[in-house]
């Protein structure tokens, strides 16, 4: 099993979700983070004191899945998230040795979907 972690533009999330659903990926966990990357930052000022802002809002998507879903899922995320501009984000794939469903206690590939 693998765990995918994708960091995308918040604006693209609805599109990514749509693509994922179409690719039959329905389970995921989503959170708001702030990201720093090639995108240039902005400056904020607070009563004349200037602060560099390097972090812009990003959406993080976590999806645990079986191996054969990995590539279609990556493709779906790219389809939904790509705008061609800097800041489109990254997809990371980690190994996932174990997975358990709380409700049933099932584990492994049965539990993941």
């Amino acid at each position: 099993m693998k765990k995918i972690e994708a960091f995308i533009q918040p604006e693209q999330f609805e599109a990514v979700k749509k693509e994922l659903f179409e690719a039959n990926v329905h389970k995921m966990s989503v959170s708001q983070v702030k990201g720093c990357g090639q995108q240039k930052g902005y400056t904020e000022s607070f009563r004349g004191q200037v602060v560099e802002v390097h972090l812009l809002p990003k959406t993080k998507i976590e999806i645990a899945l079986n191996e054969d879903f990995v590539q279609p899922t990556i493709d779906a995320i790219i389809r939904g998230a790509r705008t061609g501009c800097i800041g489109d984000g990254k997809i990371f794939v980690l190994d996932l040795p174990q997975c358990i469903r709380v409700r049933t206690g099932e584990s492994g590939t049965d539990a993941i979907g």
């Binding site: 533009q9 604006e11 609805e14 599109a15 902005y42 904020e44 000022s45 607070f46 809002p57």
Partner: protein, 442 residues
């Protein structure tokens, strides 16, 4: 260094003009015409009403600010605050004079009140029991909130500098003349059109202008994809509460004296707001399955808009009907937006333009001299003529507002640029226009 000297330069350039204004501005107090007698009760009433209406503009900022996305919240509220800062001054310098100065050709006011010259602590004809300054400041608050209403149509994408220039031009060339037409002794007043507290001047003028602006400006990035959700509906509800509260000053205060008519306006204001809330809630329940808080808030505001022109002319029961009907009308108008594909982001047209029109026409239906002997009867009280006059007032206000707004906005678009570039729209108004974020680590 360079910046500093720039500032000095700027100061030198303007310092003199400001001083000139100061001299100009020495107010002539103690010039009360004969027979005008100040009333402490009425004076209190108008001051408090002005304060109430002042609070509506930040309230509107919250109402709008809660509906935009997090990254635009400050930019949106800031629009209301900036209007409060700028039009307060515009009104004192020339706006009040254009609207209420001595009539020129039934179209606009003269320059007699420029820089508040001749506007003093003594009463004037226009409101014989309160200081002239009290009438001026009460009216100032109307002049402020009206352009602020338009900001709902250009939310989340307008360039801040252009917005500021826009509101000054709009106030000067749209609001001030129309205010003169109906309240300053202009042609609509002569015609006999009724507008108690600003259905045409405030709501139709701003609402229809908002439509023009939104059409020129184009849709927000992401419009129609379902991702433009309001970031904080509790802020919308706080704004609604302040608007409702302030509207008592808006409508009752328009009686310009603490008398039975003011109280009547107060009562119908509350009833129409309540009825609007009620009917929007049930409409949504029927049509969409659930009554939303935003719907209830929108209905209340629509009810307040609709009763505005009618507030001093209609009975409580008529107010309930006006409020009950405004919600289906505005609701339908908002659906149109989706159909026709323009992005009136926060429904400035759908609520204020459409609701204000309904209110102005409803005044033609429900006005009764039993409520206000100084008014006229409407259709339901045997006088079909008024409805026609109200119709003319609506059309004239809308046509003039839309035409002038179109000219102003086109010029600004060509010269200063109206809309922020797309990559800034992605980042949001707060960081790109104001160098700030609304929230940090909450």
């Amino acid at each position: 260094m360079k910046k500093n000297s720039k500032f000095k330069h700027w100061f030198k350039k303007w310092g003199l003009k400001i001083c000139a204004l100061l001299v100009l501005g020495i107010p002539s107090v103690c010039k009360a015409a004969e027979g005008l007698q100040l009333s402490a009760g009425d004076t209190t009433f108008i001051m408090v009403s002005a304060a109430f209406v002042m609070l509506m503009t930040p309230g509107l900022g919250l109402f709008y600010g809660g509906m935009v996305r997090t990254k635009n919240v400050l930019g949106t509220i800031m629009q209301s605050f900036a209007v409060l800062g700028i039009i307060s001054i515009q009104w004192a310098l020339w706006g009040y004079s254009l609207a209420f100065g001595s009539d020129i050709g039934n179209f606009i006011g003269g320059f007699d009140y420029l820089g508040l010259a001749n506007v003093g602590q003594a009463p004037a004809e226009v409101a014989p029991t309160i200081p002239h300054l009290a009438f001026m400041i009460f009216q100032a608050m109307f002049a402020i909130i009206t352009p602020a209403l338009i900001s709902g149509a250009l939310a989340e994408r307008v360039k801040f500098s252009t917005f500021l220039v826009f509101i000054v031009l709009w106030s000067t060339f749209v609001y001030d003349p129309i205010a003169h037409w109906i309240w300053g002794g202009g042609w609509l007043a002569d015609l006999g059109a009724l507008d108690f507290a600003g259905g045409t001047v405030v709501h139709i003028a701003s609402g229809t202008s908002a439509l023009v602006v939104t059409l020129v400006l184009g849709k927000r990035r992401g419009f129609g994809t379902g991702s433009l959700l309001p970031h904080n509906l509790t802020m919308v509800l706080i704004g609604t509460a302040l608007l409702w509260f302030g509207w008592f000053g808006f409508n009752a205060g328009s009686a310009l004296a603490a008398n039975g008519l003011a109280v009547s306006a107060f009562v119908v204001t509350n009833l129409s707001a309540a009825a609007g809330l009620f009917s929007w809630m049930f409409l949504e329940w029927k049509l969409r399955g659930k009554p939303t808080a935003l719907g209830a808030a929108t209905g209340a505001v629509a009810g307040l808009v609709a009763i505005t022109p009618a507030a001093g002319f209609v009975s409580p029961m008529a107010a309930i009907i006006i409020g009950l009907l405004v919600s289906p009308i505005c609701f339908a108008a908002i659906q149109l937006k989706g159909k026709l594909g323009y992005d009136d982001s926060l429904d400035a047209f759908g609520v204020h333009g459409v609701g204000g029109t309904w209110g102005a026409l409803a005044t033609g239906l429900f006005a009764s001299t039993a409520i206000n002997a100084g008014g006229t009867n409407g259709l339901f009280y045997g006088n079909p003529g008024l409805l026609g006059i109200q119709f003319i007032a609506v059309i004239a206000t809308a046509a003039y507002s839309m035409l002038m707004t179109f000219i102003i906005i086109k010029i600004l678009d060509k010269t200063m640029g109206l809309r922020i570039p797309e990559h800034e729209e992605v980042i949001g108004l707060d960081l790109t226009q104001h160098g700030e974020s609304g929230y940090h680590n909450m």
